[in-house]
């Protein structure tokens, strides 16, 4: 009997070979008895008798059972191919295999049925340990970054990563352990241990965080939830001797122990240039009830809706907001407050340079809102279409926002009024470049309006790079 080698149906190359499925090819592969084989291939009932996985080393088999179990329920050959493809995707998503190939064969052996099939997944496991070494230069600092990754540590798709960055000014590191629930990859647990340092010249502040966090992710109906506990030792200091006294007063050590919950619904078709769909993310953080010095309740939300218009242009509207309520009478810390402004939020203003400030250092605020309206169009005259040109878009934008401190003795109406006065807004146009699947670069011409005294503006050309944009 001939061997039927079922090829995968991937439209885009992933980890395996790029293949397109051509049912006609199947027939070509056949030798003689073509017509009889044709009958077998097309839509005749089959039974999947065995599903094997070959090439396992340290991976435990019980983990994989869940991913491949669906294949048993296939009723005809096309169904078998579809379900095998899905199973292959699931196996690759675990992040423990370099390559997965699917082989579908007729059953052999004593208990073989005439219409029985055996499906075999041939996998290549990833190496036990991978390392990377980079050097980075930026912001008057050079550093070397060492990364070590151990995929599939104990055999059930656990992943351990370690990253260490040694720089001329600061060192930082992070150790992370990830464990998915067998059979339910979206439910997973992550433990992190980290030390990061940051310098914030807009506030003349430098911050060193040493922390540990544990995080539980799980899907619920159509939403994704994350529950997280984080304990951080924060050390704040002045970046320069000329820092304002308000920032100097915040120097010192604090301990924050916080529980947070995030809910997100994302049905956009892409994270970077979505053409349709919406994103809603709501986050709560409660600090102080599990120890530590910092004590507050923090809420923030992010909403984005996209709609396709004529001629490949997309209209996108987004709204962000948040508020911080200190609990127990202690004032909020500069490290917890919200900041507004810059190429990633209200364009046309300096980086995080809107709102309360003291002697040129921006102190952040306890409540904010920001909204943006964008029209994305392909580049005029569409150069490089279906290739490099697709990474660019032109966009026209209108951004607005406000940031202030609230006096919690007043009622919510007074707060809303405060946030509605003195709105900063800006408009302009620019070009956006997509970087991979996560980041984008923007070059905009901005005209800021509604500027209040104390804000720093950046009118004219502004460049921005980042992951999360208003």
């Amino acid at each position: 009997m001939g061997t039927v080698h079922a090829r995968s149906m991937d439209p885009l190359p992933m980890h395996g070979r790029d293949m397109g499925v051509h049912p006609d090819d199947m027939i070509e592969v056949q030798e003689a008895e073509q017509e009889t084989k044709q009958e077998v291939l097309e839509n005749k009932d089959v039974v999947v008798q065995h599903v094997n996985i070959e090439g396992l080393g340290r991976t435990k088999e019980d983990l994989l059972g869940y991913e491949i179990s669906e294949v048993f329920h296939a009723k005809n050959l096309v169904d078998v191919m579809k379900k095998s493809h899905i199973a292959r995707q699931k196996l690759l998503r675990l992040g423990i295999f370099k390559e997965v190939e699917v082989v579908i064969d007729t059953s052999d052996g004593a208990d073989a049925l005439p219409n029985g099939l055996d499906v075999t997944f041939e996998v290549t496991e990833m190496k036990r340990l991978t390392g990377s070494y980079n050097t980075m230069v930026g912001n008057n600092e050079g550093s070397m970054v060492l990364g070590v990754k151990l995929p599939n540590v104990f055999g059930r798709a656990e992943k351990l990563t370690f990253q260490f960055s040694y720089g001329t000014k600061e060192t930082s590191y992070g150790l992370s352990f990830f464990k998915p629930q067998p059979g339910n990859f979206e439910r997973n647990l992550a433990l992190n241990l980290y030390k990061v340092t940051g310098q914030f010249p807009w506030s003349s502040l430098k911050e060193t965080d040493r922390g540990v966090s544990t995080e539980l992710n799980f899907p619920l109906w159509r939403t994704n939830h994350t529950l997280k506990w984080e304990g951080v030792w924060r050390e704040l200091g002045c970046l320069a001797r000329s820092a304002s006294f308000a920032v100097r007063e915040e120097s010192g050590h604090t301990l924050k122990s916080a529980l947070s919950h995030t809910m997100s619904i994302d049905n956009r078709n892409s994270a970077i240039f979505p053409k349709k769909g919406a994103l809603l993310r709501i986050n709560q953080e409660l600090a102080g009830y599990t120890g530590g010095d910092a004590s507050f309740l923090k809420e923030d939300f992010e909403l984005q809706v996209n709609r396709r218009l004529v001629w490949d242009s997309v209209l996108s509207a987004s709204l962000w907001g948040g508020c911080l309520l200190p609990i127990g009478g202690r004032p909020s810390s500069i490290a917890d407050r919200f900041y507004l402004g810059g190429p990633t939020s209200v364009r046309g203003f300096g980086m995080y340079s809107i709102g309360p400030q003291s002697e040129g250092d921006y102190l952040g605020g306890e409540a904010y809102w920001a909204g943006g309206l964008h029209l994305y169009t392909p580049l005029p005259f569409r150069p490089g279409r279906a290739g490099f040109g697709d990474l660019f878009r032109t966009h026209f934008f209108l951004n607005a926002g406000n940031l202030c401190n609230l006096n919690y003795g007043e009622g919510p109406r007074a707060h809303l009024q405060r946030l509605a006065e003195c709105i900063r807004w800006s408009y302009g146009a620019g070009i956006v470049l997509r970087l991979g699947n996560i980041a984008r670069l923007e070059l905009n011409y901005c005209i800021p309006m509604g500027v209040q005294s104390g804000d720093r503006i950046c009118d004219g050309v502004q460049f921005g790079a980042g992951i999360r944009f208003l």
Binding site: W233, R248, E249, S251, G252, H253, T254, L255, G292, D293
Partner: protein, 287 residues
């Protein structure tokens, strides 16, 4: 004396940071503001002997110069300070920490206690101030952090009192290691407690001899040396540690006792009796 000449003279006397003095000549045009504030750690629960002594020295100096200053206690005063040491004063836009730079700062504003001294006396004053800093201050630090009993019972609990667990343990031990490393570097690690008390005694003897029967160390007017000595001796006398030996060493010199009492009466009891005198005289005495 013109300001430029003052700067020149202070250079001869070997002040540290002549460039700082010169830059402050520009700010010296501003008078001493009403809202000048001195920052120190929390008085009741946190401040330790050495910091209390330094803070009292600065307060005494400013009172002697007749410059009003408001004392504010913050739990993070040590981290707010630009040099990492307390106390520091916030005057107008300037933040200055430690007695030496504060003396220069006030000099640039035209207030000085050591104007009447000639060069020899000024050099002598500097020498005695170095003696107090190298002997008394170091002895205080040694007793607080290198003596295990004191460190466990007094210093670490007090130093870490504003923080929650486990940050309090981390910060207290970090500070202890830092001080012990410093003691190693200056060669005090090998000393025993008895030797440290002996050193204190010798220092007091030198001070007592210099003071003699005079009311203050130089002439009849107090100088920054008087403020510094007062700060340290008074704090040691009014602070209860695990043992009374340190206080006893000082009490054996009656002219030093009289000196402390005299300064307390002249400069600290004429202002609101009660709050200020009770405030500092209590010191880190909980035991």
């Amino acid at each position: 004396m013109s300001l430029a000449a003052e700067a020149f003279v202070s250079q001869i006397a070997g002040c540290r940071g002549p460039e700082r003095t010169i830059s402050r000549i520009k700010q010296s045009a501003e008078p001493w503001p009403e809202n000048a504030t001195l920052y120190q750690p929390l008085r009741e629960d946190q401040i330790l002997l050495s910091d209390c002594a330094s803070s009292l020295a600065v307060q005494a100096y400013l009172r002697m110069c007749n410059l009003p200053v408001h004392v504010s206690c913050r739990s993070n005063a040590e981290y707010m300070s630009p040099s990492g040491k307390v106390p520091f004063v916030h005057v107008g836009n300037q933040v200055v920490s430690e007695l030496g730079p504060i003396v220069q700062f006030t000099k640039a504003k035209g207030h000085s206690l050591s104007d009447g001294l000639d060069d020899v006396q000024r050099a002598e004053m500097k020498a005695y101030m170095e003696l107090v800093n190298n002997m008394l201050l170091t002895a205080e630090l040694y007793i607080q952090w290198c003596d295990d009993t004191t460190a466990t019972e007094i210093s670490r609990p007090r130093y870490s009192s504003p923080y929650s667990w486990p940050l309090n343990q981390i910060l207290a031990y970090q500070k202890q290691w830092e001080v012990r490393r410093k003691m190693n570097a200056i060669g005090w690690a090998g000393k025993s407690l008895e030797q440290v008390y002996e050193d204190v005694s010798q220092c007091c003897q030198a001070l007592s001899q210099r003071l003699g029967t005079q009311p203050y160390f130089f002439n009849k007017q107090p100088t920054e040396l008087d403020a510094l000595v007062f700060g340290h001796l008074f704090t040691i006398l009014t602070t209860r540690l695990t043992s009374d030996e340190l206080g006893e060493k000082i009490k054996s010199y009656s002219n030093l006792l009289a000196f402390c009492r005299r300064i307390e009466q002249s400069y600290f009891e004429d202002s609101q009796a009660g709050s200020s005198s009770r405030g500092y005289s209590k010191g880190p005495s909980l035991f």
